[in-house]
Symmetry: D2
Subunit: 357 residues, 4 copies
């Protein structure tokens, strides 16, 4: 039933609350003999880490990961890899307000309705802090996928999209928005600054491309590669939509315009286009795997909003203090991590049934 476990062959389980002593993940099923050290994971955590510039929350967490098991003399042993990050920035603040009144758009009410109680400090288990462990687990998954390169980037913030014709992969790391379009990045500086100062928040669209995925990964009918990606991505905090390839755009095309013609190629067919996003019938085709996710604007903002208390009384809720003006930005490394985790899982799944190294 796997409440807190994701994956089939390469599985990871996360635990921890925003303001508990630590958060962690256990990665199970990792092949043995891979070189792994904390330094292989830390850069990915650093990319996601808050407090790095004025466009993300000012919460400070060094997010230093420790490997507690599954690695011996620098190599994975095939036994579970336990990863742990201590929560160091647990400000002792007054949570009585948040404990009592439900923040609309946050999981406060849903958790209480389900469990009858909740750890309300900083959102507890529902905090996006948990995504740090997805990023850490994703770094392990990448080791399983030396043949694949994965890149996620933001294509739209607050409705302002990049110009596809200006796409430049080398720009992605040059700005705080993972933006592949230098012009758009400049516009977003203003846009996000304005939202931050206004205490508002913005949504975003993140695209992720995996190159080097061979044809044949994914398993019909209920372990389809695209279905597993959809589950993995929709489960990221604040995500409300997932597309593969052409996505919703495909609903507006005619069949003959959405086809991806094939021509004889050196290693399998050469495709003339990639409307399918590299997946047909739930199985990879050898083309780049392309997906897109929609991040809602975070529900933390200064404008007061009507709500109710635990006792059902009317209340006004207003976010105070630090928050991300656009969670999609920090969500970008998380999207990359989930792509890596799903692909690595399917690589091993394919091997189980069909062999090969």
């Amino acid at each position: 039933m796997s409440w807190n476990t994701f994956g089939r062959a390469l599985r990871f389980t996360t635990w921890g609350e925003s303001h508990g002593p630590a958060i962690g993940a256990v990665v199970d099923g990792c092949p043995p003999g891979l070189d792994l050290a904390e330094a292989d994971i830390q850069p990915f955590l650093d990319a996601r880490r808050p407090g790095q510039n004025r466009f993300t929350t000012q919460r400070q967490e060094p997010d230093a990961v420790r490997i507690l098991s599954g690695v011996f003399e620098g190599r994975t042993t095939g036994t579970p890899i336990s990863l742990l990050i201590e929560n160091t920035d647990q400000r002792s603040k007054d949570y009585s307000e948040i404990a009592n009144a439900y923040r609309p758009g946050h999981a406060d009410y849903a958790y209480d309705a389900k469990y009858g109680l909740r750890d309300y400090r900083g959102g507890g288990r529902s905090s996006a802090r948990e995504t740090a462990m997805r990023v850490a687990a994703g770094a392990v998954a990448r080791l399983v996928l030396p043949e694949v390169s994965i890149s996620a980037y933001v294509t739209e913030i607050g409705g302002d999209a990049i110009d596809p014709s200006s796409f430049d992969a080398t720009e992605i790391g040059n700005n705080p928005f993972w933006c592949p379009d230098a012009e758009a990045a400049k516009r977003w500086e203003e846009l996000v600054s304005e939202a931050r100062l206004a205490g508002s928040s913005l949504g975003a669209v993140v695209e992720c491309v995996a190159e080097g995925v061979p044809a044949g990964w994914g398993a019909p009918l209920y372990a389809k590669l695209d279905a597993d990606l959809a589950a993995g991505l929709m489960g990221i905090n604040a995500v409300k939509g997932v597309e593969i390839g052409e996505g919703f755009g495909a609903a507006r095309l005619r069949g003959e315009d959405n086809a991806d013609p094939m021509r004889p190629g050196a290693n399998g067919p050469d495709f003339a286009s990639n409307h399918a996003g590299g997946i047909v019938g739930g199985i990879s085709t050898g083309q780049p795997v392309v997906c897109r996710v929609a991040f809602k604007p975070t529900s933390s903002f200064f404008t007061p909003v009507e709500s109710v208390t635990r006792d059902g009384e009317a209340a006004q809720v207003r976010t105070k203090g630090r928050h991300d003006p656009c969670v999609g930005i920090r969500g970008t490394p998380v999207v990359e991590a989930m792509m890596a985790l799903v692909l690595a899982d399917h690589k091993l799944l394919h091997r189980a049934q069909c062999g090969g190294d």
Copy 2:
């Protein structure tokens, strides 16, 4: 690893190829004591059945379901429910062409790349024929959910959307398109007829709403209700995108405009809006659960398209004979079924951890 099994507590496994002797499903974990007969399942299959009007494929399949186990004296026993439909319309036709040349957009090449061989007759396992078993299993799931009513309908075909202000639920059954807007239905008659005659195909958007879902279903973090819906829906043949609530539209809203204010209500809070689509933090809020899926246009059309053969030679592929001009139409009951299956599963999952009947 569950290649062909979906669900956690209420699970179903499907089997069968388009042109084999039969297709089937095994539904496991169903509560005992529910009234169930073939007549409870057949209407849902009839709704999905092809050949009913000129807007869907003319393939004729009576799709008569048989219950082979798990029911005794008209009631479920708690043991697995085996459902079987014989394939009766297996035209003996010449498949040598399809056997050899890969149809772009179909799973032909991907299956061969994965398995090294495939049952090419009518698409084999990758045929949308399998969705009949999802619909049958979904009919069982509905019995587990007497408190929930589920309705799916088409909101857009070939880029032509309904007018939301004309939405009329009673219209859905009055036209062959599951269209809730009588005007749009008329336009679609022309649109779909034209595409059919031209041997082209159209995409569609299907929306599905479940009312009566109580707050508290869904389980963070890797059994989130929205993530499971995304997996279930993205796995339907031809689906390329899934949205929950506001979906990609949320990426264009500000936080304060995307919030769903709560007010004191008789049974939990009354929500002033439902941007969230009834799910926050992966858990239902008591509001209607709303999702939307994008169906691509089927890859069967008359226009010849470049492709390759199994041996890597260049080829031209052109669909002959019967096909659906818009698979989204017949996909609509499948969307409903997957919604029912996911919700029923989560009802039982919630009960496992948190009790209650």
Copy 3:
């Protein structure tokens, strides 16, 4: 949660009741490209089939298996293999007595306590008839294991054990008891005949050896090869005990007497003994995998026994008609099948994590 599914990578799901229209299994995860026809399965079913001699029940079931999916042109396709056997010997008899009074030692009371109702005809789902599908699935599993040969045989009936020094594998097929000791087989003829005529029943011990299992199958800590074997074997109807290697005998040995010394060998170490039964730390060592299971005497016998009715009234229950005087005999092919299923599953599991073909 997998109520009716067994296995991790190679999974099978069974369905069906003793007196329903049919029983069946879905085998999922089977590698593609294996030669498979009904004739590959039928001999194993025939070996288990009742009514073949006077030492097993006289119920007549041809048990002819049909393959409904997953095989194309004589080879497995990698998609689920649906196997079905029609129930042909459903005598229309009066079940009112069994419907009302619980048969001690049978699952009647337990099923009612759990589900509130049950299909009481012939034991319904709890009937050993289901084991036919394990045998059928096991025949598929054997195809995955060409390097392994598996043999189960009866070592003890009603407390009368074979003489290990008279063990002769060629004798196993020469008598109706799967007995490797010709002398013991003669004694058992008398023993079982007597029990049958007296309307009594006898227990048995079955041993199973798999040769050719390479070192390295099995996965610590909760997918151990011996733990999975224990689950698979303990779940067979009437089994009450499972041993690996020396089993309970090991509890009476000193460490130095239970050790299996290793010497340099051509392919890995040569072991001087096999107290471990080929499994250490949950992983195969390359030695033969050896297990032993205890079958209780069936709870069907002529002696009346005290019981209660569904309404809690006192009752006397007495088995009438056909039954097996020693279910361990017909259980022997089932033990073999479960060994094959567990080993094939672990072969694929090992491949997922550690590669290799």
Copy 4:
């Protein structure tokens, strides 16, 4: 595929090696609202802890457990419970010998054969040290089972069995052997002391009884209560056999002698005997659940034994230093824990399908 996860609804995942920085477990699916503190777990760990008397290893580990998540203000929240124990007694000793030569009966060779490398320090992942986390997880499981009381005890050491007629439950805690027979406990003092001084080791049989289990837990056919118990118990280090109820003894009884007659009772039937060990057809009957496990003598002893090195050279292996003369003793709390974990899991599973609190 769950290499290191056990359970279906209440699941736990363990991680950690004998000489790594820590070991841990994540317990997932625990109902919310249960009172839980470290003090509820520690006593069970203390019972298993080594170094408490001269009959167990002198290795000193305080085994102080920390709860890192899933508990808020003293109550479980329904989110995963992370448990961690630091490894404090990691003597810096020379492992070069054990690194090179395989200890017969230990998992050294099997791990190398599977993974190609291993953490050889103290057995690494294959060390019984991992069982501390089963005990910790089991303490959580007990909270889910207030209606059930579980007791495990040793019935036999080195072939010397207790006298069943002298069984006295109050004696179990009065001696270092969990022995319910005061006379036997005295004999074992001598027996175990002798073995310890001789550097030998002894096997043991442990019995476990769970009282208060209601009828109806367990799910046919592949989530049978006895099959899950068999898996859970066979997976404990050094266990080679598992019996339910009469176990192998049932193979020597006639059907009429193995039956458990039922009589009208106040709450369901009163059973006249319990040969079945409280489980029929894989489902609990309301009687005490009884199982028995065989522990082999540990493979650590002073007598040199033939072996091979990693390079395939002949070697002599001889255990030096601290070890348990009878691992069955310290295994007793582990058996109890696994019983609790399986029962708690099945309580929740039953609730999922059949409702009830």
